[in-house]
Amino acid sequence: MAFEPWQRGEIPGPIKAVVINKPEMVPALVKKAKKPLFIVGTGALRDEFNGKFPIDYAIRIAKGGNIPVVATAQTVVEFKRRGFTPTARMSLMEIGGRLTDPEWSVSDNGAPHDLVLMLGLGPYYMEWLVGSGLKSFAPHLKTISLNRFYQPHCSWSFPNLPVEEWYKNLEKIAQGMEKK
């Protein structure tokens, strides 16, 4: 699908996300980062495909890369149902605001984050806005959207993808993260 915002009226500006053409680049970026963070929202509980949900891949990615996870809204319930405990539960706006602080870390006394992965952060426009907030006010961060639709305010994003292809990409990323 096209390399353009999913919602027609969304026009981002001159700086747009680099498109993730090869999902393998995501594990490479994560492994290069000093202190990645993974934010997973309720959008990860939608778009079932072949009995799987995006949250299932989020767990594999987080476990594989040993990445701390912040679950927003009630996503935490589904994580725990799958036997995974996120590092923290915060509202999307809270975690967005907190990440503009270059000293902040989700782990007590931990090093500040330098890379944020995002998956399913509410409706499309909420992730758009939080991505934009971080682009403008968290220059210390790089951001990767793992959503099915293009999020141009992130540093890297998939283009708009058919659901099957999106799941294939998530699988490849999970496998890449699980490789030792």
């Binding site: 981002p12 500006g13 001159p14 700086i15 605001g97 952060l121 426009y125 682009k135 403008s136 220059p139």
Partner: protein, 784 residues
């Protein structure tokens, strides 16, 4: 205080001979018993220090929609990654300017509405018409006006002085947005708060004027139940639909019908706040639904005449009305809609032209004339129109659905990304259920039907309505008419338990119908907190949505819960301009219960409310600039507001940092010493991702520094209980809200104690300070 105006029809003296001479003499202060406070008629800089205190606790988190500023001809300017525009503004300042623009538009809209209304009511009822919003039950009739301006309004004419002040402030606020003015984002934010404060004053003017003149319910907890929902509309009769916010033309319609014995032979119904205010005037009027119902109702063809006034009207209403052959009458100069102004023509001529279809509509800027024209046209045209509609029958919906190519163009323009293609696929097989289910989550914008969107020329919104006919026929609900103000005696009863925390909070569900999902989320939330013995207030479209819901007993929440301002009450104050009765209730608690001086004493009252009155606003479907200014009026009083996901598009949150202990100290007014109060309330403005998240935020944001241990335990009980229900676990921040062991809810003691131990919690040495952010109140107290 008022302006004195003197008018001579004819004046002949030794010096002067004049006709139609009118002049006014400055302001004459009519004193009243309360001494003037420190800040009468504050300007945009007066409360800068107070605002900065709040903005130090609640820092803006900006969410740029795009990287650009395109407000002047220097631009477009790219403000991304720390760049400044050609004028010098950076992204934070630009976004705060945008919020100020939005709030200034909102405040100007309410103020303009109030001015128009007051002028019309003075012309009809006279300048000396007394203000009365609740007789003996409401001595404190205008809390916002008294608090901000220092004026105690007694007559309609007094309201003009208030509006003079508001208009001046709005001009200054708007001018601050000009290129080359303010450059600091926090100072812009302070002005945002000012716009909100002015907005509440303006709205209060509008509502107390209409309550006092039109005989609306006067602070009546037992205001009548009225009908709401498309299924309530009797389409066997001629139907007049009113849309907007300015009720006088609709009142004239009702009056004309009554005076001509037509009340039972014509149906008058409304959408948006004019509908709410009309049902405060006439219980025979009906409410179709909130703002999102405009397209679906107009296209259903029920309405034989459509009368619009101002605000929240679809700006393509002429086009839509023409599609169903319904004449349109515009009654307001803010909203000519391209129609010819026929105010000066005879009623007979206008009626003839509309009934014969010579013109699509007319503008009539005389409410009385518009009322007569509307009724006569409806009567004459109804037999000709035969309820002409463009909503298809179910069989036609199925045929249309077969044309869908699943290109998702409709989804990509839908604000709620509704699964339209999947629903159409089912419809094409004869199953209309999925399409009908979209009815509840469709905000009625019609973007899916715009020219050039669907390559197969399908009209999804219309098909959704066509598939929902049975659902629409069952849309018959009850809603309590807007009661207006809160009685002083009600405040006396609940003031103490609110301030002590024993009534866990006042929750206000307000605002528009741009919901992120089904509108039922609003009544679900309202019912939950009413059951939990919060005081639940509501206004506007949210009040309608609450009414359009039936519980397991088939009752609407208004039937299930009392309309009194008490624990477990559900209080519909009225339309948008009734919101100041909610902020006014908080102000009254400080004034009536706590006996704080009210008159032009804003800062002290706001400080009291922020630290003691556990109130929170929820604007789940906020879409408008007015909604932003209403919210900002609450912010300056230190009252938090939660919005739904679409509210993130206001592009700025005001978030506290609970992990920053230094941010949460207050001054103990008893000693003057600093005291840690915990992160209460934690945020001032936040968008929730889901209803469940909002329902956990509400009890949390109702906590206040003044809570007694019993009150804090009650509030924590609700917070923990809802957190566990929706998030499946104990909140990991409970330790921040437990000041002393006695704060812990008894039934949760073991698990909370375990968490406190894990967190290394220590008891607060001063768990119950007399909290203030204003050092001057310490001195005042010791002197007193």
């Amino acid at each position: 205080m008022s302006k004195t105006r003197i008018k001579f029809d004819e004046l002949v003296t030794d010096l002067v001979k004049a006709k139609g001479l009118e002049f006014s003499v400055g302001r004459i202060i009519k004193e009243w018993e309360e001494e003037p406070g420190p800040t009468p008629m504050p300007d945009i800089g007066t409360f800068r220090e107070w605002d900065h205190k709040l903005l130090t606790k609640y820092k803006p988190f900006y969410l740029p929609w795009c990287d650009l500023c395109c407000l002047c001809t220097f631009g477009k300017c790219d403000l991304s990654k720390g760049k400044r525009g050609a004028c010098g503004l950076d992204m934070k300042a630009q976004l705060s300017r945008f919020v100020l623009l939005s709030c200034s538009i909102g405040a100007a809209t309410h103020c303009g509405h109030a001015r128009h209304m007051v002028e019309e009511l003075i012309a009809k009822f006279g300048r000396d018409h007394p203000l009365d919003v609740g007789g003996e039950n409401v001595y404190l009739e205008a809390p916002n006006i008294r608090l901000v301006t220092g004026i105690k309004p007694r007559t309609l004419a007094d309201l003009e002085d208030v509006l003079d002040y508001c208009e001046t402030e709005i001009v200054h606020l708007l001018s601050s947005c000009h290129t080359g003015q303010e450059g600091d984002n926090i100072d812009f934010e302070s002005k945002v708060f000012h716009a909100g404060m002015i907005d509440h004053v303006s709205m209060e003017v509008a509502d107390i004027a209409q309550i006092s003149t039109y005989g609306f319910p006067k602070a009546d907890p037992d205001a009548p139940l009225i009908e709401v929902g498309m299924g309530c509309i009797d389409k066997s009769k001629p139907v007049i639909l009113v849309i907007g916010h300015n009720v006088p033309p609709a009142v004239e319609i009702a009056d004309y019908m009554r005076n001509h014995g037509l009340e039972d032979s014509i149906e008058v119904c409304g959408i948006c706040c004019t509908a709410i205010d009309l049902t405060r005037y006439s219980q025979k009027a009906k409410i179709v639904g909130p703002i999102s119902f405009q397209l679906r109702f107009v296209r259903s063809g029920f309405a034989d005449v459509i009368v619009v006034d101002e605000q929240c009207i679809r700006t393509d209403i002429v086009v839509e009305a023409q599609k169903v052959h319904a004449p349109l009458i515009s009654t307001h100069y803010k909203n000519f809609q391209g129609l010819q102004d026929r105010t000066g023509d005879s009623v007979d001529d206008i009626v003839r032209d509309l009934v014969e279809g010579r013109v699509p509509g007319v503008a009539i800027l005389d409410s009385e004339k518009a009322g007569e024209v509307a009724v006569r046209v409806a009567t004459a045209i109804a037999p000709k129109r035969k309820k002409f509609k463009i909503v298809p029958e179910e069989s036609a919906v199925i045929e249309e659905a077969k044309k869908c190519r699943k290109c998702y163009a409709c989804v990509r323009v839908c604000p709620n990304t509704l699964p339209i293609p999947e629903a159409l696929e089912e419809a094409s097989k004869g199953n209309l259920q999925p399409l009908s289910e979209l009815y509840e989550s469709c905000v009625g914008c019609g973007r899916c039907e715009q020219e050039g969107i669907c390559p197969a020329q399908i009209h999804p919104h219309t098909l959704i309505v066509g598939a929902s006919k049975r659902r629409i026929a069952e849309e018959k609900h009850k809603m309590r008419a807007g009661r207006g103000a809160i009685q002083d005696v009600e405040i006396r009863r609940v003031g103490q338990p609110i301030v002590m925390g024993e009534i866990p909070g006042v929750v206000a569900f307000v605002g528009c119908a741009n919901y992120p999902g089904t509108w039922k989320e609003v009544p679900i939330m309202a019912s939950e907190f009413t059951k939990r013995r919060y005081i639940v207030c509501t206004t506007g479209c949210a009040a309608m949505s609450i009414g359009m819901y039936k519980d397991e007993n088939g009752q609407s929440p208004y039937e299930a819960y009392p309309g009194a301002f008490e624990a477990g009450g559900l209080i519909n104050c009225g339309s948008c301009v009734s919101n100041p009765h909610i902020s006014g209730a908080a102000i009254k608690i400080a004034s009536i219960f706590a006996k704080r001086k009210l008159r032009s004493n804003y800062e002290e009252i706001a400080d009291y409310i922020h630290n003691r009155v556990g109130a929170v606003g929820v604007a789940w479907g906020a879409y408008s600039q007015k909604a932003s200014s209403i919210a900002s009026g609450f912010w300056r009083l230190g009252i938090p507001v939660i919005v739904g996901p679409h509210g993130s598009k206001y592009r700025r949150m005001l978030l506290g940092r609970k992990d920053d202990k230094e941010a949460w100290y207050v001054i103990d007014a008893r000693t003057g010493k600093s005291a840690y109060a915990g992160p209460v309330p934690e945020h001032l403005f936040i968008a929730a991702e889901t209803m469940e998240e909002a329902m956990v935020l509400i009890p949390k944001l109702c906590m206040r520094a003044s809570d007694t241990t019993k009150g804090r335990a009650i509030k924590l009980n609700h917070y923990i209980d809802l957190h566990r229900r929706f998030f499946g676990e104990l909140p990991d921040d409970v330790h921040l809200f437990v000041r002393t062991i006695a704060d812990i809810p008894v039934t949760m003691k073991d698990e909370v104690m375990a968490l406190l131990k894990e967190k290394g919690w220590e008891e607060n040495e001063n768990p119950n300070p007399d909290p203030t952010l204003l050092p001057r109140l310490v001195r005042a107290k010791s002197e007193g």
